[in-house]
Amino acid sequence: MRSRLLLLLLVVAGLLVAFAPLPVRPITPQERTFRVDARQFAYSPSELKVNPGDTVTIQLVSTDVVHGLYIDDYGLSVEADPGQTTTLTFVADQPGSFRFRCSITCGAMHPFMIGKLNVGENHWLYRSAGLAVLSVIGFFPFSSLVRTKSKEERAMAGNH
Protein backbone atom coordinates (compact mmCIF):
# COMPACT_ATOMS: atom_id res chain seq x y z
CA MET A 1 0.00 0.00 0.00
CA ARG A 2 2.74 2.35 1.05
CA SER A 3 4.74 1.53 -2.04
CA ARG A 4 1.78 2.33 -4.29
CA LEU A 5 1.37 5.72 -2.69
CA LEU A 6 5.05 6.45 -3.12
CA LEU A 7 4.88 5.44 -6.75
CA LEU A 8 1.95 7.77 -7.33
CA LEU A 9 3.81 10.59 -5.62
CA LEU A 10 6.82 9.98 -7.82
CA VAL A 11 4.78 9.92 -11.01
CA VAL A 12 3.10 13.20 -10.13
CA ALA A 13 6.44 14.76 -9.25
CA GLY A 14 7.86 13.48 -12.51
CA LEU A 15 5.04 14.96 -14.55
CA LEU A 16 5.51 18.27 -12.79
CA VAL A 17 9.22 18.28 -13.49
CA ALA A 18 8.67 17.39 -17.12
CA PHE A 19 5.76 19.63 -17.97
CA ALA A 20 5.11 22.32 -15.38
CA PRO A 21 5.69 25.73 -16.92
CA LEU A 22 8.75 27.42 -15.51
CA PRO A 23 8.64 31.09 -14.64
CA VAL A 24 9.97 33.11 -17.55
CA ARG A 25 11.70 36.38 -16.90
CA PRO A 26 10.23 38.96 -19.24
CA ILE A 27 13.14 40.21 -21.31
CA THR A 28 12.68 42.66 -24.13
CA PRO A 29 13.68 41.03 -27.39
CA GLN A 30 16.76 42.51 -28.98
CA GLU A 31 18.40 42.38 -32.33
CA ARG A 32 21.62 40.45 -32.23
CA THR A 33 24.18 39.86 -34.91
CA PHE A 34 26.82 37.18 -34.82
CA ARG A 35 29.70 36.72 -37.20
CA VAL A 36 30.32 32.98 -37.40
CA ASP A 37 33.47 31.79 -39.13
CA ALA A 38 33.25 28.32 -40.62
CA ARG A 39 36.25 26.14 -41.32
CA GLN A 40 36.85 22.45 -41.79
CA PHE A 41 35.31 21.24 -39.35
CA ALA A 42 34.19 23.73 -36.76
CA TYR A 43 32.39 27.01 -36.31
CA SER A 44 33.88 29.93 -34.46
CA PRO A 45 32.19 30.89 -32.22
CA SER A 46 30.60 27.49 -31.86
CA GLU A 47 28.10 28.43 -29.18
CA LEU A 48 25.71 31.33 -29.59
CA LYS A 49 23.54 32.68 -26.79
CA VAL A 50 20.37 34.68 -27.40
CA ASN A 51 17.14 35.38 -25.51
CA PRO A 52 13.77 34.06 -26.65
CA GLY A 53 12.15 36.49 -29.04
CA ASP A 54 15.41 38.07 -30.20
CA THR A 55 15.87 38.79 -33.87
CA VAL A 56 19.03 36.93 -34.65
CA THR A 57 21.30 37.57 -37.61
CA ILE A 58 24.03 35.08 -38.34
CA GLN A 59 26.70 36.16 -40.79
CA LEU A 60 28.28 33.02 -42.10
CA VAL A 61 31.88 33.52 -43.20
CA SER A 62 33.49 30.48 -44.79
CA THR A 63 37.22 30.59 -44.40
CA ASP A 64 38.37 27.65 -46.48
CA VAL A 65 35.74 25.83 -48.53
CA VAL A 66 32.01 26.13 -49.12
CA HIS A 67 30.15 25.53 -45.84
CA GLY A 68 26.55 25.68 -44.73
CA LEU A 69 24.70 26.14 -41.49
CA TYR A 70 21.44 24.37 -40.67
CA ILE A 71 19.65 24.90 -37.36
CA ASP A 72 17.87 21.87 -35.86
CA ASP A 73 14.15 22.32 -35.18
CA TYR A 74 14.11 25.75 -36.76
CA GLY A 75 14.94 24.04 -40.04
CA LEU A 76 16.64 27.15 -41.42
CA SER A 77 19.80 26.98 -43.43
CA VAL A 78 22.26 29.14 -45.28
CA GLU A 79 25.46 28.47 -47.21
CA ALA A 80 28.51 30.59 -47.93
CA ASP A 81 31.49 30.49 -50.28
CA PRO A 82 34.79 31.88 -49.06
CA GLY A 83 34.78 35.55 -49.93
CA GLN A 84 30.99 35.79 -49.96
CA THR A 85 29.49 36.23 -46.52
CA THR A 86 25.83 35.27 -46.37
CA THR A 87 23.35 36.18 -43.69
CA LEU A 88 20.51 34.36 -42.04
CA THR A 89 18.00 36.39 -40.08
CA PHE A 90 15.24 34.87 -38.01
CA VAL A 91 13.28 35.35 -34.82
CA ALA A 92 14.32 32.98 -32.04
CA ASP A 93 10.78 32.03 -31.08
CA GLN A 94 11.57 28.51 -29.92
CA PRO A 95 13.33 28.45 -26.55
CA GLY A 96 15.87 25.80 -25.70
CA SER A 97 19.18 24.55 -26.97
CA PHE A 98 19.57 23.67 -30.64
CA ARG A 99 22.46 22.23 -32.53
CA PHE A 100 23.40 23.77 -35.84
CA ARG A 101 25.20 21.68 -38.40
CA CYS A 102 27.00 22.11 -41.66
CA SER A 103 24.59 21.52 -44.53
CA ILE A 104 27.07 21.31 -47.43
CA THR A 105 29.46 18.39 -47.62
CA CYS A 106 32.76 20.02 -46.82
CA GLY A 107 35.11 17.09 -46.31
CA ALA A 108 35.46 13.98 -44.20
CA MET A 109 34.32 15.21 -40.78
CA HIS A 110 31.41 17.19 -42.25
CA PRO A 111 28.69 15.21 -40.39
CA PHE A 112 30.29 16.21 -37.10
CA MET A 113 30.70 19.90 -37.86
CA ILE A 114 28.38 21.11 -35.13
CA GLY A 115 27.67 24.20 -33.05
CA LYS A 116 25.00 25.12 -30.51
CA LEU A 117 22.42 27.86 -30.45
CA ASN A 118 21.16 28.55 -26.94
CA VAL A 119 17.84 30.41 -26.92
CA GLY A 120 17.24 31.36 -23.31
CA GLU A 121 17.92 28.80 -20.65
CA ASN A 122 18.26 25.15 -21.55
CA HIS A 123 15.09 24.22 -19.70
CA TRP A 124 14.89 20.82 -21.25
CA LEU A 125 18.27 19.90 -19.76
CA TYR A 126 17.15 21.03 -16.32
CA ARG A 127 13.94 19.06 -16.57
CA SER A 128 15.78 15.94 -17.71
CA ALA A 129 18.29 16.28 -14.91
CA GLY A 130 15.38 16.71 -12.51
CA LEU A 131 13.71 13.59 -13.84
CA ALA A 132 16.96 11.66 -13.52
CA VAL A 133 17.39 12.68 -9.88
CA LEU A 134 13.72 11.99 -9.16
CA SER A 135 13.92 8.54 -10.69
CA VAL A 136 16.71 7.43 -8.37
CA ILE A 137 15.21 9.06 -5.32
CA GLY A 138 12.25 6.86 -6.00
CA PHE A 139 14.50 3.87 -5.59
CA PHE A 140 15.56 4.43 -2.05
CA PRO A 141 12.23 3.88 -0.34
CA PHE A 142 11.79 0.88 -2.62
CA SER A 143 15.29 -0.48 -2.18
CA SER A 144 14.88 -0.68 1.57
CA LEU A 145 11.65 -2.57 1.01
CA VAL A 146 13.42 -4.94 -1.35
CA ARG A 147 16.26 -5.59 1.03
CA THR A 148 13.91 -6.20 3.91
CA LYS A 149 12.07 -8.67 1.77
CA SER A 150 15.15 -10.62 0.84
CA LYS A 151 16.20 -10.82 4.50
CA GLU A 152 12.81 -12.32 5.17
CA GLU A 153 13.19 -14.71 2.28
CA ARG A 154 16.55 -15.84 3.56
CA ALA A 155 15.13 -16.29 7.04
CA MET A 156 12.38 -18.46 5.63
CA ALA A 157 14.84 -20.46 3.58
CA GLY A 158 16.92 -20.94 6.69
CA ASN A 159 13.99 -22.67 8.39
CA HIS A 160 13.91 -25.49 5.85
Binding site: R39, S46, Y70, M109, P111, F112, W124, L125, F139
Partner: protein, 453 residues
Protein backbone atom coordinates in the same frame (compact mmCIF):
# COMPACT_ATOMS: atom_id res chain seq x y z
CA UNK B 1 8.28 -14.64 -14.17
CA UNK B 2 6.61 -15.82 -17.32
CA UNK B 3 8.40 -17.14 -20.31
CA UNK B 4 6.68 -17.82 -23.59
CA UNK B 5 8.25 -20.46 -25.75
CA UNK B 6 8.33 -19.06 -29.25
CA UNK B 7 9.41 -22.29 -30.88
CA UNK B 8 6.16 -23.79 -29.69
CA UNK B 9 4.55 -22.13 -32.68
CA UNK B 10 4.98 -24.36 -35.74
CA UNK B 11 5.75 -21.52 -38.10
CA UNK B 12 8.59 -20.27 -35.91
CA UNK B 13 9.86 -23.73 -35.24
CA UNK B 14 10.04 -24.71 -38.89
CA UNK B 15 11.56 -21.38 -39.84
CA UNK B 16 14.33 -22.02 -37.34
CA UNK B 17 14.90 -25.73 -37.94
CA UNK B 18 14.88 -25.51 -41.70
CA UNK B 19 18.20 -24.22 -42.98
CA UNK B 20 16.77 -22.36 -45.95
CA UNK B 21 15.15 -19.32 -44.30
CA UNK B 22 18.35 -18.48 -42.49
CA UNK B 23 20.33 -19.10 -45.67
CA UNK B 24 18.12 -16.66 -47.51
CA UNK B 25 18.95 -13.99 -44.96
CA UNK B 26 22.62 -14.98 -45.09
CA UNK B 27 22.69 -14.42 -48.83
CA UNK B 28 21.33 -10.91 -48.36
CA UNK B 29 23.74 -9.98 -45.58
CA UNK B 30 26.75 -11.60 -47.23
CA UNK B 31 26.11 -9.93 -50.56
CA UNK B 32 25.45 -6.63 -48.78
CA UNK B 33 28.70 -7.00 -46.84
CA UNK B 34 30.78 -7.78 -49.93
CA UNK B 35 29.13 -4.93 -51.77
CA UNK B 36 29.97 -2.62 -48.88
CA UNK B 37 33.62 -3.65 -49.17
CA UNK B 38 33.51 -3.00 -52.91
CA UNK B 39 31.85 0.37 -52.46
CA UNK B 40 34.37 1.32 -49.81
CA UNK B 41 37.35 0.41 -51.95
CA UNK B 42 36.30 1.69 -55.39
CA UNK B 43 33.41 4.05 -54.74
CA UNK B 44 33.47 7.76 -54.11
CA UNK B 45 35.69 8.88 -51.23
CA UNK B 46 32.87 11.09 -50.02
CA UNK B 47 31.44 9.26 -47.01
CA UNK B 48 27.91 10.59 -47.16
CA UNK B 49 27.50 9.38 -50.75
CA UNK B 50 29.13 5.99 -50.37
CA UNK B 51 27.12 2.86 -49.62
CA UNK B 52 29.75 1.53 -47.25
CA UNK B 53 29.63 4.48 -44.86
CA UNK B 54 25.90 5.06 -45.12
CA UNK B 55 24.88 1.46 -44.80
CA UNK B 56 27.40 0.36 -42.21
CA UNK B 57 27.59 3.35 -39.88
CA UNK B 58 24.12 4.77 -40.32
CA UNK B 59 21.65 2.11 -41.46
CA UNK B 60 23.15 -1.05 -39.99
CA UNK B 61 24.32 0.69 -36.83
CA UNK B 62 20.86 2.18 -36.27
CA UNK B 63 19.16 -1.18 -36.70
CA UNK B 64 21.75 -2.83 -34.48
CA UNK B 65 21.69 -0.49 -31.50
CA UNK B 66 18.06 0.64 -31.67
CA UNK B 67 16.35 -2.63 -32.57
CA UNK B 68 18.51 -5.74 -32.77
CA UNK B 69 20.38 -5.48 -29.48
CA UNK B 70 17.64 -4.18 -27.18
CA UNK B 71 14.98 -6.52 -28.53
CA UNK B 72 16.85 -9.50 -29.93
CA UNK B 73 20.09 -9.59 -27.96
CA UNK B 74 22.60 -11.29 -30.22
CA UNK B 75 20.06 -11.31 -33.04
CA UNK B 76 22.56 -9.72 -35.42
CA UNK B 77 25.00 -12.57 -34.80
CA UNK B 78 22.28 -14.91 -36.05
CA UNK B 79 22.49 -13.36 -39.52
CA UNK B 80 25.98 -11.86 -39.62
CA UNK B 81 27.89 -12.81 -42.78
CA UNK B 82 31.43 -12.50 -41.41
CA UNK B 83 31.88 -16.09 -40.19
CA UNK B 84 30.14 -17.69 -43.14
CA UNK B 85 32.83 -18.27 -45.76
CA UNK B 86 35.23 -19.59 -43.10
CA UNK B 87 32.56 -21.75 -41.54
CA UNK B 88 31.40 -23.20 -44.83
CA UNK B 89 34.98 -24.13 -45.64
CA UNK B 90 35.49 -25.52 -42.15
CA UNK B 91 32.33 -27.62 -42.33
CA UNK B 92 32.70 -28.58 -45.95
CA UNK B 93 29.08 -27.66 -46.62
CA UNK B 94 26.63 -24.80 -46.56
CA UNK B 95 23.58 -26.72 -45.38
CA UNK B 96 23.48 -30.07 -43.55
CA UNK B 97 26.74 -31.83 -42.57
CA UNK B 98 28.43 -33.64 -45.44
CA UNK B 99 29.36 -37.27 -45.37
CA UNK B 100 33.03 -36.50 -45.50
CA UNK B 101 34.27 -33.80 -43.18
CA UNK B 102 37.15 -31.72 -44.48
CA UNK B 103 40.39 -31.81 -42.55
CA UNK B 104 41.12 -28.47 -41.01
CA UNK B 105 43.33 -27.91 -37.97
CA UNK B 106 40.40 -27.38 -35.60
CA UNK B 107 42.66 -26.37 -32.73
CA UNK B 108 41.18 -25.48 -29.38
CA UNK B 109 41.30 -21.78 -28.64
CA UNK B 110 44.19 -21.10 -26.20
CA UNK B 111 43.11 -21.21 -22.59
CA UNK B 112 44.65 -17.89 -21.65
CA UNK B 113 42.60 -16.13 -24.30
CA UNK B 114 39.27 -17.66 -23.33
CA UNK B 115 37.83 -14.35 -22.28
CA UNK B 116 36.69 -11.13 -23.91
CA UNK B 117 39.89 -9.15 -23.39
CA UNK B 118 40.82 -9.48 -27.07
CA UNK B 119 37.39 -8.16 -27.95
CA UNK B 120 37.85 -5.28 -25.54
CA UNK B 121 41.08 -4.45 -27.33
CA UNK B 122 39.66 -4.81 -30.83
CA UNK B 123 36.74 -2.54 -29.96
CA UNK B 124 39.06 0.06 -28.50
CA UNK B 125 41.28 -0.06 -31.57
CA UNK B 126 38.30 0.80 -33.73
CA UNK B 127 37.13 3.39 -31.22
CA UNK B 128 40.41 5.27 -31.18
CA UNK B 129 40.35 5.48 -34.97
CA UNK B 130 36.62 6.02 -35.17
CA UNK B 131 36.68 9.55 -36.59
CA UNK B 132 38.56 8.30 -39.60
CA UNK B 133 36.75 4.97 -39.79
CA UNK B 134 33.25 6.48 -39.72
CA UNK B 135 33.99 9.03 -42.41
CA UNK B 136 36.39 7.39 -44.86
CA UNK B 137 34.97 4.77 -47.24
CA UNK B 138 38.18 3.00 -48.09
CA UNK B 139 39.10 2.60 -44.43
CA UNK B 140 35.69 1.08 -43.74
CA UNK B 141 36.17 -1.19 -46.74
CA UNK B 142 39.57 -2.30 -45.50
CA UNK B 143 38.33 -2.95 -41.96
CA UNK B 144 35.36 -4.97 -43.23
CA UNK B 145 37.63 -6.99 -45.48
CA UNK B 146 40.13 -7.49 -42.67
CA UNK B 147 37.44 -8.87 -40.38
CA UNK B 148 36.27 -11.24 -43.09
CA UNK B 149 39.78 -12.50 -43.77
CA UNK B 150 40.51 -12.80 -40.07
CA UNK B 151 37.39 -14.91 -39.62
CA UNK B 152 38.32 -17.15 -42.54
CA UNK B 153 41.89 -17.48 -41.32
CA UNK B 154 40.86 -18.33 -37.79
CA UNK B 155 38.35 -20.89 -39.05
CA UNK B 156 41.15 -22.61 -40.91
CA UNK B 157 43.22 -22.93 -37.76
CA UNK B 158 40.84 -23.10 -34.83
CA UNK B 159 37.64 -24.96 -34.26
CA UNK B 160 34.24 -23.35 -34.41
CA UNK B 161 33.70 -19.58 -34.75
CA UNK B 162 36.86 -18.37 -33.08
CA UNK B 163 36.61 -14.89 -34.62
CA UNK B 164 33.05 -14.39 -33.44
CA UNK B 165 33.59 -15.64 -29.94
CA UNK B 166 36.97 -14.15 -29.13
CA UNK B 167 37.91 -11.40 -31.56
CA UNK B 168 34.92 -9.60 -33.07
CA UNK B 169 34.72 -6.02 -31.75
CA UNK B 170 30.95 -5.94 -32.21
CA UNK B 171 30.38 -9.30 -30.56
CA UNK B 172 32.07 -8.07 -27.40
CA UNK B 173 29.43 -5.54 -26.60
CA UNK B 174 26.35 -7.16 -28.09
CA UNK B 175 27.16 -10.21 -26.03
CA UNK B 176 27.29 -8.12 -22.89
CA UNK B 177 24.12 -6.23 -23.76
CA UNK B 178 22.24 -9.34 -24.85
CA UNK B 179 21.75 -10.05 -21.17
CA UNK B 180 19.11 -7.33 -21.20
CA UNK B 181 17.20 -8.72 -24.18
CA UNK B 182 13.70 -10.17 -23.98
CA UNK B 183 14.52 -13.34 -25.88
CA UNK B 184 16.72 -16.26 -24.97
CA UNK B 185 17.71 -19.72 -26.18
CA UNK B 186 17.52 -22.34 -23.44
CA UNK B 187 16.94 -26.04 -22.96
CA UNK B 188 13.45 -27.11 -22.05
CA UNK B 189 14.07 -30.01 -19.67
CA UNK B 190 17.35 -30.65 -17.90
CA UNK B 191 16.56 -34.31 -17.30
CA UNK B 192 16.56 -34.99 -21.05
CA UNK B 193 20.09 -33.58 -21.35
CA UNK B 194 21.27 -35.71 -18.44
CA UNK B 195 20.21 -38.87 -20.28
CA UNK B 196 21.62 -37.76 -23.65
CA UNK B 197 24.85 -39.46 -24.67
CA UNK B 198 27.40 -37.73 -26.87
CA UNK B 199 25.81 -34.31 -26.45
CA UNK B 200 25.43 -33.65 -30.19
CA UNK B 201 24.38 -30.08 -29.49
CA UNK B 202 27.99 -29.41 -28.59
CA UNK B 203 29.85 -32.13 -30.49
CA UNK B 204 27.85 -32.50 -33.68
CA UNK B 205 25.21 -35.05 -34.52
CA UNK B 206 27.46 -37.92 -35.53
CA UNK B 207 28.36 -38.43 -31.87
CA UNK B 208 25.06 -39.52 -30.43
CA UNK B 209 24.64 -43.29 -30.17
CA UNK B 210 21.40 -43.05 -28.22
CA UNK B 211 19.57 -40.77 -30.62
CA UNK B 212 16.72 -42.20 -32.63
CA UNK B 213 17.50 -43.09 -36.23
CA UNK B 214 15.48 -40.22 -37.53
CA UNK B 215 17.69 -37.77 -35.67
CA UNK B 216 18.40 -34.35 -37.10
CA UNK B 217 21.84 -33.83 -38.42
CA UNK B 218 23.76 -30.75 -37.47
CA UNK B 219 27.00 -29.35 -36.19
CA UNK B 220 28.21 -28.74 -32.67
CA UNK B 221 27.75 -25.28 -31.28
CA UNK B 222 29.97 -22.88 -33.28
CA UNK B 223 30.10 -20.55 -30.29
CA UNK B 224 31.81 -23.12 -28.06
CA UNK B 225 28.89 -23.06 -25.66
CA UNK B 226 27.26 -26.14 -24.16
CA UNK B 227 23.56 -25.44 -24.80
CA UNK B 228 22.56 -27.71 -21.98
CA UNK B 229 24.33 -25.41 -19.56
CA UNK B 230 23.19 -22.08 -20.97
CA UNK B 231 21.89 -19.77 -18.28
CA UNK B 232 22.74 -16.40 -19.85
CA UNK B 233 22.63 -14.96 -23.36
CA UNK B 234 26.11 -13.55 -23.28
CA UNK B 235 27.91 -16.09 -25.42
CA UNK B 236 25.08 -17.69 -27.39
CA UNK B 237 25.08 -16.32 -30.92
CA UNK B 238 21.53 -17.48 -31.76
CA UNK B 239 22.81 -19.37 -34.77
CA UNK B 240 20.05 -21.98 -34.13
CA UNK B 241 22.41 -24.87 -34.87
CA UNK B 242 21.70 -26.67 -31.60
CA UNK B 243 17.98 -26.50 -32.23
CA UNK B 244 18.58 -28.35 -35.48
CA UNK B 245 20.99 -30.82 -34.00
CA UNK B 246 19.29 -31.82 -30.77
CA UNK B 247 17.76 -35.26 -31.36
CA UNK B 248 15.25 -34.77 -28.52
CA UNK B 249 13.90 -31.40 -29.58
CA UNK B 250 14.86 -30.13 -26.15
CA UNK B 251 16.00 -26.61 -27.09
CA UNK B 252 13.70 -23.63 -27.35
CA UNK B 253 13.67 -19.91 -27.99
CA UNK B 254 11.73 -18.10 -25.31
CA UNK B 255 10.25 -14.67 -24.92
CA UNK B 256 11.05 -13.43 -21.44
CA UNK B 257 11.15 -10.24 -19.38
CA UNK B 258 13.83 -7.68 -20.18
CA UNK B 259 17.19 -8.13 -18.48
CA UNK B 260 16.30 -11.44 -16.89
CA UNK B 261 19.98 -12.46 -17.10
CA UNK B 262 21.05 -9.57 -14.93
CA UNK B 263 19.24 -11.13 -11.99
CA UNK B 264 22.25 -13.45 -11.88
CA UNK B 265 25.08 -10.97 -12.32
CA UNK B 266 28.39 -12.33 -13.49
CA UNK B 267 31.58 -11.55 -11.60
CA UNK B 268 34.05 -11.51 -14.49
CA UNK B 269 36.56 -8.70 -14.75
CA UNK B 270 36.73 -8.80 -18.53
CA UNK B 271 33.01 -8.23 -18.72
CA UNK B 272 33.17 -5.55 -16.05
CA UNK B 273 35.73 -3.61 -18.05
CA UNK B 274 33.68 -4.10 -21.19
CA UNK B 275 30.87 -2.27 -19.39
CA UNK B 276 33.24 0.60 -18.61
CA UNK B 277 34.58 0.64 -22.16
CA UNK B 278 31.09 0.98 -23.60
CA UNK B 279 29.88 3.52 -21.05
CA UNK B 280 33.00 5.62 -21.39
CA UNK B 281 33.21 5.55 -25.17
CA UNK B 282 29.54 6.59 -25.51
CA UNK B 283 30.27 9.61 -23.37
CA UNK B 284 33.49 10.48 -25.15
CA UNK B 285 31.83 10.15 -28.57
CA UNK B 286 28.95 12.35 -27.42
CA UNK B 287 31.44 15.02 -26.47
CA UNK B 288 33.87 14.73 -29.35
CA UNK B 289 31.56 13.96 -32.27
CA UNK B 290 28.31 15.66 -31.27
CA UNK B 291 29.68 18.52 -29.20
CA UNK B 292 30.51 22.03 -30.44
CA UNK B 293 34.22 21.73 -29.59
CA UNK B 294 36.09 21.77 -32.89
CA UNK B 295 39.48 21.24 -31.31
CA UNK B 296 38.45 17.80 -30.06
CA UNK B 297 37.30 16.78 -33.52
CA UNK B 298 40.56 17.91 -35.11
CA UNK B 299 42.55 15.97 -32.56
CA UNK B 300 40.42 12.84 -32.93
CA UNK B 301 40.63 12.92 -36.71
CA UNK B 302 44.33 13.64 -37.15
CA UNK B 303 45.37 10.09 -36.43
CA UNK B 304 49.10 9.66 -36.00
CA UNK B 305 49.90 13.16 -34.81
CA UNK B 306 51.17 13.96 -31.33
CA UNK B 307 47.87 15.59 -30.44
CA UNK B 308 45.97 12.46 -31.41
CA UNK B 309 48.29 10.36 -29.29
CA UNK B 310 47.42 12.51 -26.31
CA UNK B 311 43.74 12.15 -27.18
CA UNK B 312 44.16 8.37 -27.31
CA UNK B 313 45.91 8.35 -23.93
CA UNK B 314 43.17 10.46 -22.39
CA UNK B 315 40.53 8.20 -23.96
CA UNK B 316 42.14 5.11 -22.48
CA UNK B 317 42.75 6.81 -19.15
CA UNK B 318 39.08 7.73 -18.86
CA UNK B 319 38.02 4.19 -19.60
CA UNK B 320 40.62 2.15 -17.75
CA UNK B 321 41.60 4.43 -14.91
CA UNK B 322 39.23 7.29 -14.14
CA UNK B 323 35.85 5.66 -14.47
CA UNK B 324 36.68 2.33 -12.84
CA UNK B 325 38.58 4.06 -10.02
CA UNK B 326 35.64 6.31 -9.29
CA UNK B 327 33.41 3.26 -9.27
CA UNK B 328 35.77 1.39 -6.99
CA UNK B 329 35.89 4.39 -4.69
CA UNK B 330 32.11 4.48 -4.54
CA UNK B 331 31.83 0.86 -3.52
CA UNK B 332 34.95 0.52 -1.43
CA UNK B 333 33.54 1.37 1.93
CA UNK B 334 31.36 -1.69 2.07
CA UNK B 335 32.49 -5.23 2.78
CA UNK B 336 35.96 -6.72 3.04
CA UNK B 337 38.78 -6.27 0.59
CA UNK B 338 39.15 -9.95 -0.23
CA UNK B 339 35.94 -10.11 -2.09
CA UNK B 340 36.46 -6.66 -3.57
CA UNK B 341 37.28 -7.82 -7.07
CA UNK B 342 34.19 -10.01 -7.14
CA UNK B 343 32.06 -7.21 -5.78
CA UNK B 344 33.47 -4.74 -8.31
CA UNK B 345 32.61 -7.04 -11.19
CA UNK B 346 29.20 -7.99 -9.84
CA UNK B 347 28.13 -4.43 -9.15
CA UNK B 348 29.40 -3.19 -12.51
CA UNK B 349 26.64 -5.19 -14.19
CA UNK B 350 24.44 -2.24 -13.26
CA UNK B 351 26.33 -0.32 -15.92
CA UNK B 352 25.18 -2.70 -18.64
CA UNK B 353 21.66 -1.34 -19.20
CA UNK B 354 23.01 2.15 -18.58
CA UNK B 355 25.60 1.75 -21.31
CA UNK B 356 23.06 0.33 -23.73
CA UNK B 357 20.77 3.33 -23.27
CA UNK B 358 23.71 5.72 -23.52
CA UNK B 359 24.48 4.24 -26.93
CA UNK B 360 20.81 4.41 -27.93
CA UNK B 361 20.63 8.09 -26.97
CA UNK B 362 23.89 8.92 -28.73
CA UNK B 363 23.00 6.99 -31.87
CA UNK B 364 19.57 8.62 -32.14
CA UNK B 365 21.23 11.95 -32.72
CA UNK B 366 23.45 11.14 -35.65
CA UNK B 367 21.03 8.63 -37.17
CA UNK B 368 18.12 11.09 -37.29
CA UNK B 369 20.42 13.80 -38.61
CA UNK B 370 21.76 11.66 -41.43
CA UNK B 371 19.16 9.00 -42.23
CA UNK B 372 18.25 10.96 -45.35
CA UNK B 373 21.47 9.73 -46.92
CA UNK B 374 20.13 6.18 -46.96
CA UNK B 375 17.70 6.55 -49.85
CA UNK B 376 20.22 8.47 -51.94
CA UNK B 377 22.83 5.83 -51.23
CA UNK B 378 20.54 3.06 -52.49
CA UNK B 379 20.19 4.84 -55.81
CA UNK B 380 23.83 5.70 -56.28
CA UNK B 381 25.86 3.45 -53.97
CA UNK B 382 29.26 4.04 -55.57
CA UNK B 383 28.82 7.72 -56.36
CA UNK B 384 29.07 7.00 -60.09
CA UNK B 385 26.03 9.00 -61.06
CA UNK B 386 23.55 6.11 -61.07
CA UNK B 387 19.95 6.57 -60.10
CA UNK B 388 18.62 3.08 -59.50
CA UNK B 389 15.59 4.04 -57.43
CA UNK B 390 15.22 7.64 -58.54
CA UNK B 391 16.32 8.97 -55.17
CA UNK B 392 19.91 9.85 -56.02
CA UNK B 393 19.23 13.57 -55.78
CA UNK B 394 17.43 13.34 -52.43
CA UNK B 395 18.57 16.29 -50.36
CA UNK B 396 20.13 15.95 -46.93
CA UNK B 397 17.47 16.72 -44.37
CA UNK B 398 17.70 15.97 -40.66
CA UNK B 399 14.61 14.12 -39.52
CA UNK B 400 12.41 14.51 -36.50
CA UNK B 401 14.89 16.68 -34.64
CA UNK B 402 12.07 17.87 -32.39
CA UNK B 403 11.62 14.40 -30.90
CA UNK B 404 15.31 13.97 -30.41
CA UNK B 405 15.57 15.69 -27.04
CA UNK B 406 12.56 13.94 -25.50
CA UNK B 407 13.72 10.66 -27.01
CA UNK B 408 17.19 11.01 -25.53
CA UNK B 409 15.77 11.98 -22.15
CA UNK B 410 13.50 8.96 -22.20
CA UNK B 411 16.37 6.69 -23.13
CA UNK B 412 18.77 8.10 -20.56
CA UNK B 413 16.35 8.36 -17.65
CA UNK B 414 14.92 4.98 -18.58
CA UNK B 415 18.42 3.58 -18.65
CA UNK B 416 19.12 5.09 -15.25
CA UNK B 417 16.04 3.49 -13.74
CA UNK B 418 16.96 0.19 -15.34
CA UNK B 419 20.48 0.51 -14.05
CA UNK B 420 19.25 1.29 -10.54
CA UNK B 421 17.01 -1.77 -10.62
CA UNK B 422 19.95 -3.89 -11.75
CA UNK B 423 22.12 -2.33 -9.05
CA UNK B 424 19.55 -3.35 -6.46
CA UNK B 425 19.60 -6.95 -7.62
CA UNK B 426 23.38 -7.05 -7.82
CA UNK B 427 23.73 -5.39 -4.43
CA UNK B 428 21.36 -7.87 -2.85
CA UNK B 429 23.51 -10.60 -4.34
CA UNK B 430 26.67 -9.02 -2.96
CA UNK B 431 24.95 -8.09 0.29
CA UNK B 432 25.88 -4.44 0.13
CA UNK B 433 23.99 -1.20 -0.29
CA UNK B 434 23.01 -0.22 -3.81
CA UNK B 435 23.30 3.49 -3.06
CA UNK B 436 26.88 4.10 -4.26
CA UNK B 437 26.31 2.33 -7.55
CA UNK B 438 23.07 4.21 -8.15
CA UNK B 439 24.82 7.46 -7.31
CA UNK B 440 27.54 6.63 -9.83
CA UNK B 441 24.96 5.87 -12.50
CA UNK B 442 23.15 9.11 -11.70
CA UNK B 443 26.35 11.09 -12.08
CA UNK B 444 27.13 9.43 -15.40
CA UNK B 445 23.59 10.08 -16.62
CA UNK B 446 23.75 13.75 -15.67
CA UNK B 447 27.02 14.11 -17.59
CA UNK B 448 25.57 12.36 -20.63
CA UNK B 449 22.43 14.52 -20.51
CA UNK B 450 24.59 17.62 -20.46
CA UNK B 451 26.69 16.35 -23.37
CA UNK B 452 23.75 15.43 -25.56
CA UNK B 453 21.07 18.00 -24.82
Amino acid sequence: MGRVELTRFPIIKSAVKNRWPQLAVFIVTLVGYLFAILAGLVGTPVGSRNFSIVFVWIAWWAILILVAVPFFGRGWCAVCPIPLPGEWLQRGAILAPPDKKPKWLNLRWPRALRNIWLQNISFLLLALFSSVLLTTPNITGIVLAAMLFAAIGLSAVFERRAFCRYLCPVGGFIGLYSQTAPIELRIKDKKVCVKCEGKPCYNGSSTSPTAPLSANTGYGCPWDVFPGGLTKNTYCGLCMECIRTCPYDNIAINLRPFSADLAKPSARMDEAFKAFIMLGSAMIYAGVLLGPWGVLKDVAYNVGTGAWLIYAMVFLAIIFIIMPSLFALCISRFGNLNAFKKRFATLSTALIPLGLMFWVAFSLSFVLANASYILASLSDPLGLGWNLLGTAKAAWQPMLTSILAPGQTLALVGGLVWSARTAQKASTEAQVSSVPVIAYSLLATLVMLWLLL
